[in-house]
Symmetry: C2
Subunit: 302 residues, 2 copies
DNA sequence: TATATTTCATATGTTTTAGATATGTCATGG
DNA sequence: CCATGACATATCTAAAACATATGAAATATA
């Protein structure tokens, strides 16, 4: 039994007339009669009563007609669903991001736009350190991730630069450079004597190395008092007065009691990149679409 | 797209291996590869990723797999349902009967047995006069009917004798032959002077003509006071004292206040037949089965 | 490193089968 | 009673499924 048989059967049943059904199907009458007969032989059931003026469904035929219609509809639906999944218009993607990424308006915006453009694609979100995220991408637990560190150059992972943003200084409210309503840019050298609290290097070496490198450029070796597992924790430690840190300026959206953000005055620009990582092969169409959407938004400044 | 494609696709997806799937399907590997490729071309979607060690579903393939499995299952189910409908093991029949038929235990018994033997056949029941029932059979509103009259010899209607039962006399309790606890058989001639109440001839001439003929045989012409539309109504009229009537003895099951049933003593046996009518062609398998079951029960005295 | 093995893809031939053409049969309607 | 309409049958053609033989790429093995 093939779908062709069901299609032919439905046509004959609907027309009540083999010859007309054959016309509708774009074939001749004899092969249509044959195929119907073949169905009857296979099922060992008479599907039509041959009348002098056409054909008429038997009870068994009537029983089959309803099922055949439904099945043909299901097939159409399944094929179109498959096509759309293949085109990335339907399906499921999992997106990861480091803790600092969603503070930049770019990230929520691109997620929102993607969801609007492809409502049939279910999105799940995951937060984690860069290392975890890259591992998750590799093991196909997630499809893409917004990260801030370079990826250990690699096997099967592609990264795309999305944007760069300036870093700024986060000081405890009580800090000598933050007291009052001071908003004057802080030169990195002014922090030479301060304790630094940094986002743990193992989780994401990018920011860590950038900050330490910039300090060296300014002629001092930062005293790293503490490493925190997430950037939010870093800021909490700063707020409680344990030290200072540098964060991407979008983190200013995180307004913590007891913390002041000040712009950074440096010769060499100290910037935090935002990157998108994904598998370089074996990605679903939905994932491809997401990456493409994010890159396009990045290019157009969206 | 044909079911073959879906079958092949499911096999490859389940094996993760074209060659093994081909073995399972009983064909060679190259045609299987071709058919899978044909699907991908038609859908314009990659269903499998070719790995050096086999093949692996893409997201689109995964989406299709679930649907394909379901569809193949639905097809199997539909075909088996059709087969069973064709064999009369599933479906729907409508059975009619004259008002007097269900009083004979044969009728409810055969209905009950059929329902037990073929629980998947839905039964609907209809009551009506013989003429109506025969018309309903002809117009395919019902499939078969228990009747007591001969059918106007006919086009497309077959009848089968099921059983015969003696007639008995139904008298008002106040009737001279019924007073006290008399149970003596009544000779038909004894009723020569009585008013007769008969089941309307137009609805079913069988009993009517039989009764009138028997009276003639007994040497008198019955005085027909009243005709009633249903046999139950006839008995109600008898109960209220308007006259006497003759009914199949199974009607004694209908115990009405004010009525007495007495056996009939006649030279020639006066009997009421029970017949089963159905279309001689164009009946569903379920209807055929029902008629066969009823005839068999009749033969075996069931 | 070279070779054997595994596995899917490609090329080409064969067989099956769907479909086309021509004709037959049967019932109906003028 | 013949013409018409409809499905069935017979035979042929063409398409497509399948088989066989071989190639290509990657991996495992010597």
């Amino acid at each position: 039994m093939e779908l062709r048989h069901l299609r032919y059967f439905v046509a004959v049943a609907e027309e009540g007339h083999v010859t007309r059904a054959a016309e509708r199907l774009g074939i001749q009458q004899p092969p249509l009669s044959q195929q119907i007969r073949a169905m009857e032989d296979e099922l060992d059931v008479q599907l039509f009563r041959r009348k002098p003026r056409g054909v008429e469904l038997t009870d068994a035929g009537r029983a089959l007609l309803a099922d055949a219609r439904r099945i043909l509809g299901d097939v159409d639906q399944a094929l179109s669903r498959t096509r759309r999944t293949g085109r990335g218009e339907e399906g499921r993607i999992a997106v990861g991001f480091t803790s600092s990424a969603p503070f930049h308006p770019f990230v929520p915006r691109v997620l929102r736009n993607f969801r609007e453009d492809f409502p049939q694609v279910a999105m799940t979100l995951d937060e984690g350190g860069t290392a975890d995220l890259v591992a998750a991408i590799r093991s196909e637990q997630i499809d893409a991730a917004f990260i801030r560190s370079p990826v250990p150059e690699g096997e099967n992972i592609a990264t795309y630069d999305i944007l760069e943003e300036p870093m700024c200084v986060a000081l405890p409210k009580s800090h000598r450079l933050a007291r009052g309503a001071k908003t004057k840019p802080v030169a990195l050298g002014d922090l030479a004597g301060d304790s630094f609290i940094l986002y743990r290097r193992a989780s994401g070496p990018g920011l860590y190395d950038g900050i330490v490198g910039a300090c060296h450029d300014s002629g001092f070796n930062p005293r790293i008092e503490q490493e925190a597992p997430r950037i939010v924790a870093t800021l909490n430690l700063v707020a409680s007065g344990l030290g200072v840190t540098l964060v991407p300026e979008s983190l200013q959206a995180m307004r913590l009691e007891g913390i002041r953000y000040l712009p950074l005055a440096t010769r060499r620009k100290l910037v935090a990149p935002l990157r998108l990582a994904c598998r370089s092969v074996d990605h679903s169409a939905a994932a491809r679409r997401f990456v493409a959407a994010a890159r396009k938004a990045a290019r157009t400044g969206g």
